[in-house]
Structures are given as structure tokens and as C-alpha cells.
Amino acid sequence: MNRGGSSGKGEGDMPQSIPWNGSGLMEEVRRCGGAQVSACFQCHKCSTGCPVGPEMDFLPSQIMRLVHLGAEKEVLASRSIWLCASCEACTTRCPMAIDIAGVMDALRILAIERRIDLPDARGKQFHRSFLGSVRRHGRVYEMGMMTAYKLRIGDLLSDVDKVPQLLAQGKLSLLPDRSGDIRQVRGIFRRAEEEDGKP
């Protein structure tokens, strides 16, 4: 289990010396499509039902609190934001209707935007490889996407034992299947980047 040095999840394990620093992190989360975090009153319902809680360095409710405090460094360099599986249990159960899974998305976007030194780059590299495949073919070409991802993380061997069966069952194809609308897709990626870059 990976738990960062400065963190912990039990009662009283939150880093004690984080004053509110007025960094505007809550507003930045909103700008990246995230919800209004200020409504959180720390009931911990999100943390209780989170499937990846045991592996996280900060539980979802702790992430919410750190966003309140403007603790950019702790939040954006946390493992938790990349371990969130987007299962939406927290979003569904939050008594204040905060879209907590959406906040996790916003934090991932911010971490990339600010070129944070990530504790584990696998999440970022997977997203990059996946979207690269979509941009190139209009659809995900699994074989190409997985090869690109594995090259990026320097781990070519994990799960290769499953490839022969998948090929034999026609579940992996050696050649990409392209959407006929590939020009439009490339335009969408370009314009989405422009939109995201707008102040």
C-alpha cells in the first residue's frame, strides 16, 4: 500500500500545519469544471463508501478539506486524485450534492496544467495514450494504445500473458478501425485545446 510521508488517514492524521492560504484553489477547481467544494461540512460519507480508500493517501473528504484550505501542494501531488476510479458513489451520496468525482477530475486537470511532479505517472500516461489513439483514429485502437502506454511507463511485460487468448477470441485486432469522420475529430481536439486555454 502506498501512503505518502506527510499524510495519513486516521483521526488527527491530517497534516496539522496547513493554514488557509487564500490561493484560490476552490475557484480554480470550478474553472476546470469541478463543483462548489465550499459546501462540504466533513461528514465523511464519501470516504466511507470509496472503493479505493485503502490505497489512497488522502481520503475524498480529506481532499475536500485540503481544497478548502488551498493546500495546492498536498492536493495536486497526491496519489488519491489518480486512484479515483470515477465510480460516482461519492457524488451520488454527498448530502450537499457536491460532485466529488468531478472535483477529482478538475484536480487531475490542474495537476497536469501546472506540471506537478506526480508521485505516479501511470494515470497521466494512460489518459495520454488513450486520447492519442482517439485523435489518430477517431476510435480507440486498443493494441496501439496499450503499446504506447506500456512504452511510456517502461513496463512492457505486465498482462502480456492475456494477449494470445484475446487475439484468438477476436477481442484484439492487429489493425485499427477508423471512424470515417477522422478530420472532424482532429478539429475537435484542436478546438477543445483552444477552449481549455481560454482564461
Binding site: A85, A106, L131, V134, S179, I188
Partner: protein, 298 residues
């Protein structure tokens, strides 16, 4: 009954059996599907975790194509379903999101195309009674744990065709097919989803828990309606057993495969042979029960 079908990328690869069985079942039940022409990837989790704009625009492009065809959309993949519904929800609810989607795609779109999941169509549109009437080979004696996963029922203000914590539509469908759906508590617990690529150890922990609970509840197999759930639960059973302790291998079938079997469709047409854990003993049990045996020896 006619829908514009959005297959999504998984249905062309790892979820081929879901594609085959969805099309076969719909054909048998008189639901006509027409693929959205030149559909593109919905962006899935990598898009919504990387770019808010991309996460709205890619689904919107597909929905514009369906609107041009003048048909409501049917989706099989739970993740694509959630992405398309989310885009509609935001485009309808926030004028700035609508304008942004229109600027990026270059076409007008009001969020008005109806998006339904195949389960929703089967249970709430066609109805269990009409399905029961077409069952030729009931799944008698089969005990099925219906696994809904996350995105079919969450978040409820976006997907909204069943209860988010205790859904029942898949159970109704399995009952109509003659199977017995077991009562179990992990219907909507997460399987780890795309962490399969980045943190397969977590996926093994979560799927081990799910499979052991289904076993404890007395299930012969799991029924699923999501490509990622199916792969995580089916393909990683050996890894999960190695990491967290052995358990009896459990076949994980798409709900459309089970329904197809009940409708009497041939196994080849449903991709039954393309599962990692073979459902052979399961089907032998069904045949034994049908032949008047004492429940088989599965």
C-alpha cells in the same frame, strides 16, 4: 421500435460478445438498430479526467449525428452511456456548455436526443412480459448474481432508469428469462474500472471481493452490462486468486448473452465461446434441469 445504435470502442474489441449478443437479442425481439454513421469515441474517463471541453464535445458530435438520423440512441457500454447522458445533461442545463459544445463541433445541438441503455429499453420499453413470451429455452435452475456496477445507476440525476443503491431491472430481466436472481449486497460496488490499466492490483482486490460475495450468495454466474466490468471480473480471476486466495472460477456473462440463450439463439451468435472463464458447466446444469434432472452437478 427503432434506435440509432452507439456501439463504442470496447464493443469492437474486448467486448465483442456484448456487441454480438446485443444485436442478436434486439433482432430476435423486434428492436431495430441502425449504427450511428461514422461514430467516434465518447472520450471515456481519459477525456473527462483531462479536458472538460473534450468530455462534452466528443459525445455531442455523436449525438448530432443521431439527431440528423432522427432517432433516439441506444447504447450498450455503461461508460459510453454515462458519457452521452452527461453531455446531454450539461448541454441542456448550462447555456455556456451548450455554446462551447457548438463552437467545438461546429454544429448546433440542443441536448435533445434521447439516450437509452439496452437494459432500460428491454425492461422499461419492451417489458418483461413481452420478453417472457419469447423465451424458448428458460434458464431454469441457474442462479445469477446481477451486477450493475457504477455507471448504469450513478449519478441518478444523469442516468436515472433504476434505483442507484438497489437497482432491480437486470433481476427482472433474468427472472423473465427463467433464471433465479440471487439476493446479494454488492450489486453496485465498483470493480475498479480503468484502474485495470494503471493499478491492476487494486482491481484484483475489488473483483476478488465481488466474486467471493457472489459465490457466498450461491450464484452460479454473474450477469453484467458493462465491458469494463466484464473484463475486470472475467479476465483477472486467476490473478485475483493468486493475490487474495483461491475461489471457485465464476463465469461472467453479459446480460444479453444470458437473455439470448433463453431466447434460444445459437451460442455462436452470442459470443459464448469468447469468455475467459468458460460457462460450459453452467450451461450443462441448465440442460440437465431442462431434461428433468435433479439440478445438474455444476
Amino acid at each position: 421500435m427503432k434506435y440509432a445504435f452507439f456501439p463504442g470502442c470496447s464493443l469492437e474489441s474486448t467486448a465483442r460478445p456484448f456487441d454480438l449478443s446485443t444485436r442478436a437479442v434486439c433482432r430476435a425481439l423486434g428492436i431495430s438498430l441502425e449504427d450511428i454513421p461514422d461514430w467516434v469515441c465518447c472520450g471515456s474517463t481519459p477525456a473527462h479526467a483531462s479536458s472538460d471541453s473534450l468530455a462534452i464535445a466528443l459525445p455531442a458530435l455523436n449525438l448530432q449525428k443521431a439527431q440528423a438520423a432522427g432517432l433516439p440512441v441506444m447504447v450498450a457500454c455503461a461508460s459510453c452511456y454515462a458519457r452521452l447522458r452527461t453531455a446531454n445533461h450539461r448541454i441542456v442545463g448550462a447555456p455556456e456548455d451548450r455554446l462551447r459544445a457548438e463552437r467545438i463541433t461546429g454544429h448546433p445541438y440542443d441536448g435533445g436526443v434521447e439516450v437509452r441503455h439496452v437494459l432500460d429499453v428491454l425492461v422499461n420499453e419492451l417489458g418483461p412480459d413481452r420478453i417472457r413470451a419469447k423465451v424458448r429455452r428458460p434458464l431454469a435452475g441457474l442462479r445469477v448474481a446481477c451486477y450493475y456496477g457504477c455507471l448504469l445507476t450513478r449519478p441518478p440525476e444523469i442516468v436515472a432508469f433504476d434505483d442507484p443503491e438497489h437497482p432491480s431491472c437486470m433481476d427482472e430481466l433474468m427472472a423473465a428469462a427463467g433464471a433465479e436472481s440471487v439476493d446479494w449486497p454488492f450489486k453496485t460496488e465498483c470493480c475498479g474500472a480503468s484502474l485495470s490499466m494503471t493499478n491492476s492490483d487494486i482491481v484484483c482486490r475489488l473483483t476478488h471481493r465481488l466474486l467471493c460475495m457472489a459465490q457466498e450468495a450461491g450464484a452460479d454466474c454473474l450477469a453484467v452490462a458493462c465491458p469494463l466490468c466484464q473484463v475486470n471480473l472475467d479476465l483477472r480471476q486467476a490473478d485475483a486468486g493468486k493475490a487474495h486466495g483461491p475461489f471457485r472460477p465464476m463465469p461472467v456473462l453479459y446480460v444479453t448473452q444470458l437473455l439470448g440463450l433463453a431466447l434460444g439463439l445459437p451460442q455462436e451468435a452470442l459470443g459464448i465461446d469468447a469468455l475467459a472463464v468458460s460457462p460450459k458447466t453452467l450451461l450443462a446444469k441448465r440442460d440437465a434441469v431442462a431434461a428433468g434432472g435433479a439440478g445438474g452437478n455444476a
